[in-house]
Symmetry: C2
Subunit: 294 residues, 2 copies
């Protein structure tokens, strides 16, 4: 089969054997925002045409490709949901010669009853066998970080933190950016930010401290971005762990980002296991295994 994690900005395709092993992979900057005029079938042909020509006839797509802005909308499925429930709600796509299906996103409620949605993360979470077997927590860091709870082989709920987007807005559009310069990634200022996040005064006070330390010549311009990142990720991780049962977190994503989160989780008293984005391939294979493919 072919499994594709097709998001807002990226396209990652996997050719997966009957044993679930990844036999080949392709990636491209052809996220749904970069595909002009809804030419999704053309993009699919360009990217995985050779695999289709070699006989693959099942294609499963997860991610924002199933959103209103994507190829076709796959309605959200309510939590709790596992591979079987998701496989029972796949949405068919008309395509030349292969059977193409969309994975639905999931919806849920946070602990206060506020609606939450995700698309694509559910598939990556289902790709971590330890979570399905033992239950636990996954963290998918990014623009909008997701913390996902798994119990009894199903995703029971999740919460979103606007950490990455808040970082960009604060750095790019507040006074904090005036004393910042890109520099080598720094463990020491990141750790200082993590420690700061544990102190009293709250996030809005800690943010101003970035400016105060810079004015007092106690924070170098090249260190300030890592310090701000440590403050924000520290606040996210502390709040998420406070709500979690257990302290082992499966962190899924790009290696540079999962490294930061693993460091933050350890500093906040948890323990992180890191996984890269190929967890999506496992999840897609598992969902396909449960699906009636007609």
């Amino acid at each position: 089969m072919i499994g594709i994690d097709w998001g807002t900005t990226s396209f990652r395709a996997f050719r997966i054997g009957r044993d679930g092993a990844i036999r080949d992979r392709r990636s491209a900057t052809k996220g749904i925002l970069n595909v002009p005029d809804g030419r999704f079938s053309d993009t699919l042909r360009e990217e995985v045409g050779p695999w289709l020509a070699a006989g693959e006839d099942r294609v499963l797509l997860s991610g924002m490709i199933g959103s209103r802005q994507g190829w076709r909308e796959a309605p959200y499925l309510a939590c709790p949901a596992g591979a079987a429930e998701i496989a029972g709600s796949l949405v068919d796509i008309a395509f030349d010669w292969a059977k193409v299906k969309l994975v639905p996103g999931l919806s849920g409620l946070d602990s206060s009853g506020v609606a939450e949605v995700m698309r694509g993360e559910e598939t990556q979470v289902l790709g971590i066998p330890a979570l399905l077997r033992d239950g636990g927590i996954a963290c998918l860091p990014g623009t909008h970080s997701k913390w996902v709870r798994v119990a009894g082989g199903r995703i029971s709920g999740f919460t979103t933190h606007m950490t990455g987007e808040a970082f960009a807005a604060l750095r790019g559009h507040t006074i904090l950016g005036r004393t910042m310069r890109d520099g080598p990634p720094g463990d020491a200022p990141f750790d200082a930010g993590l420690s700061r996040s544990a102190e009293p005064g709250g996030l809005l006070h800690h943010l101003f401290g970035v400016r105060a330390l810079a004015l007092a010549d106690r924070l170098k311009e090249q260190e300030a971005p890592a310090y701000l990142s440590g403050i924000l990720i520290g606040h996210e991780v502390r709040a998420a762990l406070a709500q979690a049962e257990g302290s082992v977190v499966q962190v899924i994503g790009a290696p540079d980002l999962t490294a930061l989160y693993a460091r933050a989780i350890a500093a906040c008293g948890g323990y992180a296991e890191r996984h890269d984005g190929e967890a999506a391939a496992n999840g897609l294979a598992l969902i396909a295994e449960h699906a009636q493919w007609t």
Copy 2:
């Protein structure tokens, strides 16, 4: 005497009698950022020339006019400091015919030892007699909100929260702004944001909830700015009250802003007394009373 609260964007002058009463007032959008080429003495002549001509010969200036970007830099004075200490550190300005002096800003350390500075707020705080008599807490809301502690007639310390600037950056430069429209100020959505700030999950999660509620049609576009404001001010007030001794807060500033903060302080279990920006006139008169005016 003439007392002037001369900030980054505003200029507010008071003619003050020997009894401390305000005899006349002027305000203009002639903050230091709006005065071209450092023409501060010209601006002073234009604005209060008639008062000087009528015989006033003492002018005391507080606020950012004493910063590096202002008329002349008045070095920060370390906390604890009251009217007597501040009066002993005034900085003389050369001016045609009157004696003009600058009030220094204050510096301090937050509870974690991070440096803090302010210019102008100290003078407003000294203008609230109840604080000087009994001690307590003042809150000066704004782009960078200040929470100031007073004990024994002196300012003992203060902390800054980046609330106003964070609101502007989040509304203007994140996905949250896409589901927001200006509307009538709304008590109900503001209160909902205040309640939200008490729930688990942390500020970065609560921010994403603004988006989640909008997508679920549970938050109208005209209500969303007040809801976001309630979340941010709620987080600020909760963190500040948690660090404060006592729960009565003297809130100083423009009436629309002090009304919101009074509402937030009440919702968070405190009690607010509101004061407008004319507190600066009282503070300037008190400092002048302590000063050797030569």
